[in-house]
Structure formats: structure tokens, C-alpha cells
């Protein structure tokens, strides 16, 4: 029986690369994304490549949708061994006094509350199975802070502490919970806002390895954290940023 992974934000960028990496390793993959079409597309790519996949349109900030997504995933594959919470985003770059309450809540809820809701629904499934791995997604900004991205930095720092707490709560059930912190990564969402040249200028000198990250770089780290090689690792933060931080 192959392991089953549920990936939020799986329709694009890092989530998409993670879905492909997991599928290539033989996992059955549930691709969840608020853009249902993107999730369908990634699911189709995986199945065309000979993998097993299901796609779900999911807004992780909606508890009812999260509950329904879990039911759907279980109905299809019967279990969940790996949960990768990748849905998130900074959405805005502006000064704190210009953020509306609604904008603030959108950033906090998508990143932090979404992670909470997904974990709350998935943990009992993993507890029944007596095992599982949860991978949450932070950012280098969750450690350093970032001018003009205050809610995003706050949400990501929140995810790091949330992960540690959950790791302690679930360790006795054989469930490991860790955080991956991507640095600047070439995802379609950031690449459409910035030319490759502007990106080079902004980042390359600051990154010892001399380039920004690729979604595939991150996918290898997420995958490592699902394997028995990481069996003794829980509650930890894993930066992957070319040495930026």
C-alpha cells in the first residue's frame, strides 16, 4: 500500500513541485488548491506520468471546506500519511498603517489559520493510524521579519511556534511535525511580478550560492522530511535559501 500525501497550495509553485516529487516517490497525492483548475491540472500531470492523484478545490481558511477536503481524501485513498501545508502567501507589500483589517486577516488566516485548520482535521486521522508526518511552511521572513510584509512575517513566525507545540503534542503518537522555510523561490506568482533581471539584481549578491531557489530545490527537502532518514526529527525548522540566512 503506497503512502498518501495531502498537499495544500499544490496547484502552483512549491506545492506543485512537492506534489510531483511525492508522486515520483510512489505516494498517492491529493492536490488541494484554492485554484481548483490548477489543482486539477497538477493531478492530471501526475496521472499522465503514471502516478495516483486526486484534486480538490480548497480554501484553507474555511473550516467546513477543510473538513470536507479531508473526508474526500479519505474516501479516495483511505488514509493520510503526509500533510504538507504549503498554501500561503504575502499578497501585499505595504506599510503597516496602510494595511486594512481585512487585508491583515487575509494574510494571517491564509498562512497561519489555514495551517491550524488543516492540522486540526488531519491529526486525529494520523493518531488513529499511529503515525504520520506534517510539514508546515514558513519563510526566512518568519525569522528575520520583513519591511512591508508585517502580517506575513508574523504569520510565518507563528507557524514556526505552532509547529513546535504540535510536535510536542503529537510525538507520542509517532507523528512528526516540522517546518520548511523557503527563501526567495522562483514561483510563477513572484515571477509574474518581477523580471528575471530585477530578481537577479535584488537577490543574487545576497545569496552565497548565487541564485534564487527553484521549487524543485524545496521539494527535495519536503520529501526528505517524509522519509525514514528523518525519523528522529520533529519540531524543527529547516531553512532552504542558498545561504541567504
Amino acid at each position: 500500500m503506497s503512502a498518501v500525501a495531502l498537499i495544500t497550495g499544490g496547484g502552483n509553485g512549491i506545492g506543485r513541485a512537492v506534489a510531483h516529487r511525492f508522486a515520483a516517490a510512489g505516494m498517492s497525492v491529493v492536490v488541494a488548491d484554492c485554484e481548483g483548475d490548477a489543482a486539477e491540472q497538477v493531478g492530471a500531470e501526475i496521472e499522465q506520468g503514471g502516478g495516483r492523484a486526486a484534486a480538490i478545490a480548497l480554501d484553507v481558511t474555511r473550516a467546513a471546506q477543510v473538513k470536507a477536503a479531508l473526508e474526500q481524501a479519505l474516501q479516495r485513498f483511505g488514509r493520510i500519511d503526509v500533510l504538507a501545508n504549503i498554501a500561503g502567501g504575502s499578497f501585499y507589500t505595504k506599510r503597516i498603517e496602510e494595511f486594512t483589517w481585512a487585508e491583515w486577516k487575509r494574510v494571517i488566516d491564509t498562512n497561519l489559520k489555514g495551517t491550524f485548520l488543516m492540522c486540526r482535521e488531519t491529526a486525529p486521522v494520523m493518531q488513529r493510524q499511529k503515525g504520520g508526518r506534517i510539514l508546515n511552511t514558513a519563510s526566512n521572513y518568519g525569522v528575520t521579519g520583513s519591511a512591508l510584509r508585517a502580517p506575513y512575517a508574523a504569520a510565518k513566525a507563528g507557524i514556526i511556534a505552532f509547529t513546535k507545540s504540535l510536535a510536542l503534542e503529537l510525538a507520542a503518537d509517532g507523528i512528526r511535525v516540522n517546518t520548511v522555510a523557503p527563501g526567495p523561490t522562483d514561483t510563477p506568482r513572484v515571477m509574474e511580478k518581477e523580471t528575471p533581471e530585477a530578481r537577479r539584481q535584488r537577490w543574487y549578491a545576497a545569496i552565497p550560492l548565487g541564485r534564487t531557489g527553484r521549487p524543485e530545490d524545496l521539494a527535495e527537502l519536503y520529501y526528505f522530511l517524509t522519509t525514514p532518514e528523518s525519523a528522529a526529527i520533529t519540531g524543527q525548522l529547516f531553512h532552504c535559501n542558498g545561504g541567504l540566512l
Binding site: A167, L168, P208, L209, L221, A232, Q236, C240
Partner: protein, 249 residues
């Protein structure tokens, strides 16, 4: 899937415990090994185990706190294999004693081996890695680097210094395609924790982690194998914590 096929790896402190697990793990992944250790007989035994797994392996006696000895290790490694792709700094020592009773000689030895060994080995192997525009340097630090440890002040200082050294070296060598990372293991099931405690007490302490499992040398070797592989080519300057959940940073 031999992730390290054809790679040449030098492992200091490779004769026992975590270093041995790393050496044998790398042998299974297709690497060719230089097992370097102060204890030559034990290093030769590990090289023999690696050969039994089908890997090419030699043993070299080294004192990583001695410039000439480290240079000899580098010479022997290049002589035998022509290049070095992976350097694992695992050689380390400690002497348990309260700070007020620690001798200067003991302090020097801990710092010279644990931290100085990282420096001398980097200096010996980095020029070749720069020329080949690739390389992996991996150091074994300790969770004590972050928590400190009563009567382990020199050890804690040396391990925290490794974390700082790794970050600096990563910045220096990144442009040449060389990554530098560390692992901070918690207390593992090796001879080390048994030196000051009974077997019963040792095992009780080792089991007292959130995950409730004893940290085995293989649990430390796994992440090192990952960091040595192509899968980790974008990771540098990090010190990952492997401790069953006892310390979270």
C-alpha cells in the same frame, strides 16, 4: 538509487559511533571512502566493513588538531582517489569538568580538536573543491551548542563555534558551488553518553525524548546523507537539529 555514486568522501572521526554510521551509510550510497581517525585500527575495521559493502575505502590515521597530520590526510586522500567531494568533520572530544576546575590544557584540546579540526580540514580540502567548483562540507555539532551543558562548557563552546564557522564558511564558499552545513544531534546511542553514567541511566535518558525513541547513529547519518546528496544542492549555512524533539529552535 545510489545517491553518492562515484563521490569521494573523507570522514574524520569515522572509526566509531556517528562517524562510523555516516561512513557505512555513504558506502551504501556508492561513495568511496577515506575513514580518518585518531584510532587507526578501528578506522581500518570500518574501512573493511565498507569494503564488505562493495565500496572502495582506505583508513588514515589523523589527529585533526595537528596541521601536519591533516595535511597528510589530504595528501593520502588525493593520492588514492584524485579528488574529494565530501568532507565530514565528525572528530570530536570532550572532558567533563566544571569550569573552575578545567585546566588550560584540557580547554585547548577540546577547542583544538572540535573547532580547530574543522578549520584545518577545511583549509586542506577547500582548494581542491574550489578548483572542481563543487563540494560538500558537513560538520557534526551538537544540541549542546544551543542549550549549553553543565560541566561541558568547553564542549558547548566548541560546538556553538562550529555553527558560526559553518555559516561564515558557507558565505565564503557559496560562489564556488560548495555547500557547508552542520547537524546538531542530541545525545545518541554511542559510547559517549556511557562514559559518565550506568547503562540503565544512559538508556533511560536516551529514551526520554518527545518521540520516545532512542537516537541511533543511523538517525544522524540519514540527514548527513541527504545533505551530501544532489538533493540538497540549494541548502547551505544551516545547522539542522536532530534530537527526537528534545530541543526545538
Amino acid at each position: 538509487m545510489a545517491r553518492l555514486a562515484g563521490k569521494i568522501a573523507v570522514i574524520t572521526g569515522g572509526a566509531q559511533g556517528i562517524g562510523r554510521a555516516i561512513a557505512l551509510g555513504m558506502a551504501r550510497e556508492g561513495a568511496k571512502l577515506v575513514v580518518a581517525d585518531l584510532q587507526e585500527g578501528k578506522a581500518e575495521a570500518v574501512a573493511g566493513e565498507a569494503r564488505a559493502l562493495g565500496a572502495e575505502a582506505i583508513a588514515v590515521a589523523v589527529d585533526v588538531s595537528d596541521e601536519k597530520s591533516v595535511q597528510n590526510l589530504a595528501d593520502r586522500s588525493f593520492e588514492r582517489f584524485g579528488r574529494v567531494d565530501i568532507l565530514v568533520n565528525d572528530a570530536g572530544v570532550y572532558l567533563k569538568a566544571p569550569v573552575i576546575r578545567k585546566t588550560e590544557a584540557d580547554w585547548d584540546r577540546t577547542l583544538n580538536v572540535n573547532l580547530g579540526g574543522n578549520f584545518l580540514c577545511a583549509r586542506a580540502f577547500v582548494p581542491a573543491m574550489r578548483r572542481q567548483k563543487s563540494g560538500r562540507i558537513l560538520s557534526i555539532a551538537s544540541s549542546i551548542a544551543n542549550t549549553g551543558g553543565r560541566e561541558f562548557a568547553d564542549y558547548a563552546a566548541s560546538k556553538a563555534a562550529i555553527v558560526g564557522f559553518v555559516k561564515a564558511l558557507a558565505r565564503e564558499l557559496g560562489p564556488d558551488g560548495i555547500t557547508v552545513n552542520a547537524i546538531c544531534p542530541g545525545s545518541a546511542n554511542t559510547d559517549m553518553p556511557r562514559r559518565h553514567r550506568s547503562e540503565e541511566e544512559t538508556m533511560a535518558r536516551l529514551r526520554a525524548t518527545p518521540l520516545g525513541q532512542v537516537l541511533e547513529p543511523e538517525d544522524i547519518a540519514g540527514p548527513i546523507l541527504f545533505l551530501a546528496s544532489d538533493a540538497a544542492s540549494y541548502i547551505t549555512g544551516q545547522s539542522y537539529n536532530i534530537n527526537g524533539g528534545t530541543v526545538m529552535l
